[in-house]
């Protein structure tokens, strides 16, 4: 492992920033999120930013292609992709797992989303091993290992040793980035890692997808749907929610085809062209969201589409709590 004194963190990031843009968790105008690193920036090292790193790979608004309509002529052209390599820093294991979830969707064997794949390709991810559990964290219940980042997404694992950080490259790409600041790093074997704090919130999830497959018409949904405002806070802050809409941005003859985030909690999400609304209310929407996360996705990919980051627990204006839901389902089933 390579050791960096915490006091040298700023130098380290500056050195990296000479080679490529570096993205770090920080507070921007009162909202914690991942943002381009600038010298002397205050980084958010305990806890997760409110906004997950999902937008780095799946931006809230992204142009897919451009076009021009003149008379009967329609010209279509790809976006000029000028993206260069970048480094994404201090991604929690839950959020790393979130990126793995997105990979399942956008880089599946059947179809690869070029723009998503490109962003994944150019981004080196530094995971940060858990150094403090919040009361809303339940990652372990959702198959996330706080000890070890999912190597399918993480390139470097970072360990918080108190006064030092230890870096462990998980692959060649990670090594390459670390080498850019080799002079600040010292090699050390047998690093003693502090224990990962215990999750306060632990859910029983064994057999959950199977149990859920019988709940479609169960009364439990009524308890959860009642409170829902129908806003998009949960879906937009969620590191794994990945629904999008396709829109045009038009200026006379010129246009851009945009991909924008969408939320299954919005009425318009399932609204059909003729005005039919198959998902009629809050209940149907919440049910779809929870079942997608805990049953449908699991059935397809053998992993939950929830990483237990706890953002929705604390940020839902009405405190709709997916962990409570899981507990209740498991409890009711065992009754």
């Amino acid at each position: 492992m390579q050791i960096l004194e915490k006091s040298k963190l700023d130098d380290f990031l500056q050195m990296l920033a000479k080679h490529q843009p570096v993205i770090v968790p920080t507070d921007v105008d009162g909202l914690s999120q991942y943002a381009p690193y600038q010298a002397q920036m205050t980084l958010l090292l305990d806890g997760k930013p409110t906004v997950s790193p999902k937008g780095i790979f799946l931006p809230q608004t992204e142009a897919i292609y451009r076009f021009k309509a003149q008379g009967k002529n329609l010209l279509i052209a790809e976006m000029e992709n000028q993206q260069t390599p970048q480094v994404l820093f201090f991604v929690r294991h839950c959020d790393v797992q979130g990126i793995v979830c997105l990979d399942k969707v956008f880089m599946s064997p059947e179809y690869t989303d070029q723009q998503y794949a490109k962003k994944r390709e150019i981004t080196t991810i530094f995971a940060l091993r858990c150094n403090g559990s919040k009361e809303s964290c339940f990652c372990t219940s959702m198959g996330v290992d706080p000890e070890k980042a999912n190597p399918a997404a993480a390139d470097v694992e970072v360990y918080d040793l108190g006064d030092q950080f230890a870096f462990e490259a998980l692959n060649e790409r990670g090594e390459k980035v670390l080498s850019q600041a080799a002079e600040l790093l010292s090699n050390q074997d047998n690093v003693i890692l502090p224990p990962v704090p215990e999750r306060k919130l632990q859910l029983k999830t064994e057999g959950l997808p199977e149990k859920l497959s019988t709940t479609f018409d169960a009364p439990i949904w009524n308890d959860f749907m009642f409170k829902c405002l129908g806003c998009g806070t949960c879906t937009y802050l969620c590191p794994t929610c990945h629904c999008f809409d396709i829109n045009n941005k038009l200026r006379g003859e010129d246009g851009l085809k945009l991909r924008t985030w969408d939320s299954c909690m919005f009425d318009e999400y399932t609204l059909m062209a003729g005005g039919h609304q198959p998902r009629t209310g809050k209940k149907e929407r919440i049910r779809n969201r929870f079942l997608h996360k805990l049953q449908y996705f699991y059935e397809k990919h053998q992993m939950f589409l929830c990483v237990g980051c706890g953002r929705c627990l604390t940020k839902c204006p009405m405190n709709i709590d997916i962990s409570k839901f899981v507990q209740q389902v498991m409890k009711e089933e065992s009754r």
Partner: protein, 164 residues
């Protein structure tokens, strides 16, 4: 009159703003027509958008125009009491008294948004108002605020349409 001609000639700093005028059909649009009938010259920066009544103008139209990069907006209708629809402009007045202040509050320069009462008989006033507004906006330069820029580097070349 000679003042206005002077202004048209002298403001030549190169920047030619585009100004949108929402004009009610019965008073201001008629006033603008009268300015034409009377051959009252004014700068060619203004474009009139005809609405039945100034009360048809939704403040959201104004914000939209700024989003699309307009340099200035004028909403104009009949004088209070003279509305063709009796009360329309009283609502216009309330709505835009607030809108003007809200635009100001979010940092839009106050020169960029105006409301005026211009009757069908006030061709000269139409000339004067649009001339003054044009001059004032020329002085403060192009509008950058609220703009939802369309990335121009993504524009495709104009190849002309086969339209006939």
């Amino acid at each position: 009159m000679s003042d206005h001609t002077e202004q048209i000639k002298t403001a030549e700093n190169g920047f030619e703003p585009k100004i949108l005028v929402f004009a009610c059909n019965w008073c201001t649009y008629a006033g603008a027509d009268l300015a034409g009938l009377s051959r009252l010259e004014y700068p060619p920066n203004v474009r009139v958008l005809r609405v039945p009544c100034s009360c048809r103008v939704n403040p959201q139209f104004v914000i939209r125009a700024f989003q699309r990069g307009i340099d200035g907006v004028l909403v104009a209708g009949c004088h209070p009491g003279d509305c063709h629809y009796t009360t329309g402009n009283y609502y216009t007045r309330r709505r835009f008294l607030l809108t003007k202040r809200l635009l100001d509050f979010v940092g839009i320069d106050s020169e960029r948004f105006h409301v005026r009462w211009i009757s069908g008989a006030e061709g000269p006033k139409f000339q004067e108002v649009v001339t003054d507004i044009t001059a004032a906006i020329k002085a403060i330069g192009p509008n950058q605020k609220l703009c939802d820029y369309f990335p121009t580097e993504t524009l495709l070349p104009n190849e002309g349409g086969d339209n006939q």
